[in-house]
Symmetry: C2
Subunit: 357 residues, 2 copies
Amino acid sequence: MQCLCETCVADLNTGKTMTTQQKHVTIQHIAERAGVSISTVSRVFNDSAGVKESKRQAVMDAAAALDYRPNLFAQGLASGQSMSVGVLTQNFGSAFYDGILRGIIAGLDNSNYAPLFADGRWRLDIEERALQTLLDRRVDGLILVGPQQSADLLKQLAQKMPIVIISRIVEGFEKFCLTVDNYDAGYRATKYLLDRGHHQIAHITGVLSESRVLRDAADRFAGYRDALLDVGLEPDPDLIVEGNFRTQSGLLAIETLLSRGRPFSALFVANDQMASGVRLGLYRRGIRVPDDIALIGFDDQPHSAYMIPPLTTIRQPAEEMGSIAAEAILNQLDDKPFSLPTMSAELIIRESVKSIY
Amino acid sequence: MQCLCETCVADLNTGKTMTTQQKHVTIQHIAERAGVSISTVSRVFNDSAGVKESKRQAVMDAAAALDYRPNLFAQGLASGQSMSVGVLTQNFGSAFYDGILRGIIAGLDNSNYAPLFADGRWRLDIEERALQTLLDRRVDGLILVGPQQSADLLKQLAQKMPIVIISRIVEGFEKFCLTVDNYDAGYRATKYLLDRGHHQIAHITGVLSESRVLRDAADRFAGYRDALLDVGLEPDPDLIVEGNFRTQSGLLAIETLLSRGRPFSALFVANDQMASGVRLGLYRRGIRVPDDIALIGFDDQPHSAYMIPPLTTIRQPAEEMGSIAAEAILNQLDDKPFSLPTMSAELIIRESVKSIY
DNA sequence: CGGTTGATTGAAAACGCTTTCTATGGTAAT
DNA sequence: ATTACCATAGAAAGCGTTTTCAATCAACCG
């Protein structure tokens, strides 16, 4: 890979060997070797204008021979584009986010854009910095998953670049939001229990508090409530406990639920993680699932299929959402129309719910 | 935030308003506003040379007033540095990786470097592209978690920039590798079972095949074998099954193990995911844990504490490894000495192992 | 008091690419 | 054969920083 064109030799002589020459082949080197100007080289790579086939080929050959890789910094500086889209999540480690990322990677796969990942770890300050990192890198588009930023900031961002917001609805901004219909999913989960003959159905919710920007917990809860109402059942406050989506809180919640002494035969838990905690709590008390209590979760985490017993749950189409988001960003980038559907979740029937009649 | 210095007004008049002026404040604008040259502004931000306090302050004020953010592309181009370190994992979604990422984020937190994440999804081709993305962005350092690249390539990379490799040992390159002592961990897991009175201990390994660059499975297995040997027990091939680290393979493995008909009272599984599969297999057969079979896993995934029963397992100090890796990179970047210890894993005792005497 | 020295500062040259703007040649039209 | 027009290329001007080089100024030395 030792090039001996003028430029390279000049580099060698000036002692730049170990830096420029060895380290980075530039458009200069290619131009020299192919016997054309750098403008032409640039044109070839961007096919931004007609270049005679012979030169084109020469450039391609030179580039291949020298293993040329454009300097993104230079490109970005000159063109004002970074050819990357920023992806901000809250927790790389969760199955739902992981699925989304997978979808995004796939969706961006044969575009010229590369994803740039950052993670907020559910902490506003970290999220802010992560976002800043992305912005500093001048991403051309942004996919935000469950962002906790203010609606104003989000709208402001949208002014400057294509954006897609997953798992959160920002008022007056629905066009850019991609969500799952949590209400419907909650409704259906509850309905499923009702249909199996259960009438006393408890619910452990996610984080509900007012200030919360993310409405998933509230929507699932509303679905639960309405499903009950629709069959003439009054939701019983004693059968409802607020959790915080974490495993531990499921354990706690089932304790308080049980301690209230109100009987129930089925339990709808707002996510699988908490369901996992619930399951342990039940096990500790010697309460069997599904014989004594039917259990239904939400999310279909990978290990839910391996719970004892395998958990009936609601699956969000994470991967599909990721690729839809990617596609939408790409379209926005191309000034093409796009639309983000409200996704619907799927009931995954396994073994944690038994019918009683 | 409307600036009326010469530069900005000029921008306004030339109609650059909606792009340059609104979009990006440059060092130019600051210089103008603070009444100094751009060189001085640059010096202030990098405190690369003495600048009189009065000017320094003026620059800072101007920067604050205009909400200046340096253009990383320009900085990168000019300085040859990107002030970022690339982090390549195999699967954002796994708890182990997630812990590492958390550690890295924390470790880089008060440095000037920002992490840039990419994920190989356990597929060599994707990993290659992800790495390329990182390289193209001219990261100043690289943290690779369980990379599958050839040793040659890794060494080559190390020539060019600081590097830390987690979870893989590259021969003759140990200085840059940060690993957990899997052999010791495997040994201790087995020893624990032995100490509880178990003599017929089965083992489900991870991916073992020769070509495999990652040795974790083989090391855990070797630890298992030697622990047995050390108490005078001959490892029984009929009690050993090779899995592939995935949940499903745990289920399969326990089936074949059981079908061989050789009795065993305890089972060491090379990771928690497979243990999860095993658990389900056992449940299906009505075999109780820990009463009929003692179970011990590896990794301490978050949900392992909530398995039925809670799983005794080995915890790798993921988060700590992440921050150690970050620190090592930072030190290399500063030309300071660094060293990567071999981490040792911790036995987490829960309820899936019962003593038999 | 002229010349040094050191601390500050500005001018200008990179950095590697994109993108006008111009120039060149050839081809089609008159 | 002229003129007009295209297609193709090169020159050169940025893009927003850093960094080298040179210049200015004041305090300091003998």
